[in-house]
Symmetry: C2
Subunit: 126 residues, 2 copies
DNA sequence: CCGAATCCACTTGGATACTG
DNA sequence: CAGTATCCAAGTGGATTCGG
């Protein structure tokens, strides 16, 4: 993905389609709110309002938008209980858990490099 | 990171600071251009113009902006050769390679789930 | 060649109000 | 409670120009 140079040969056409699709998916998902949502859901089952309470600073609108996007891509499952008042619960799907694992890796990386990054920033800002 | 509930106890203060810093860094870095840049640099050394040519669709401005950001956070190194015309080369730092590994993981995940995602989208859009 | 700065069209996201 | 729609303020990103 990403670095290939296309020659225009016929068998390249499929690769290119897969590639640009991958890139599109990547762009969908590689945003901070999506990551945060996936991390926070984890293996729990959370209601809309619980999610909003746990994700500091997210607005109602952003949360719905990202949940829809994640649902559309099959990363979270949305379960509606037909009660009054309504109760809607979100969980990660199996592919969602896979993605979560990679995000976990990134969180770990962040934690391990906090010091280095802070130092680098101070140097840069001077 | 992210999910902890703070009690307000003194020892929590440091955790909270580290946490919000981690989140800030995360927000900096978790954007599609940054990911793409890191992936494309890989273990190569690339000039500004080479980068722009390889990253389809990125504008001059976005590229500079993200390169500055990555440099500030110590993920890429910027080397200026004092020639005429100027020659500026970018490489990943050691922490940059660490982050790259996690992004690689995410790319792999995307490739493995292209089919599932496409199917899920079709279902959703109907 | 690289990058900073300006301009401005366009998108984004927050606040609010309204429905089932 | 969950979600949609609207409005509008603020931010973003592209094109262009100028400078080192």
């Amino acid at each position: 993905m990403v670095t290939k140079q296309y020659t225009g040969s016929p068998e390249d056409a499929d690769l290119m389609r897969a590639d640009s699709l991958a890139r599109e998916i990547f762009s969908d998902v590689a945003n901070k709110w999506a990551f945060l949502i996936i991390e926070i859901v984890g293996d729990r089952t959370l209601r809309f309002s619980e999610l909003r309470d746990e994700i500091e600073g997210i607005s109602h609108k952003m949360l719905t938008q990202n949940l829809r996007m994640l649902e559309r891509n099959g990363l979270v499952e949305r379960k509606v209980h037909p009660t009054v008042p309504p109760r809607v619960e979100y969980t990660l799907t199996e592919p969602g858990h896979g993605l979560r694992a990679t995000i976990d890796g990134m969180c770990g990386w962040t934690r391990r490099h906090l010091g280095h990054i802070e130092a680098s920033r101070r140097r840069f800002d001077a």
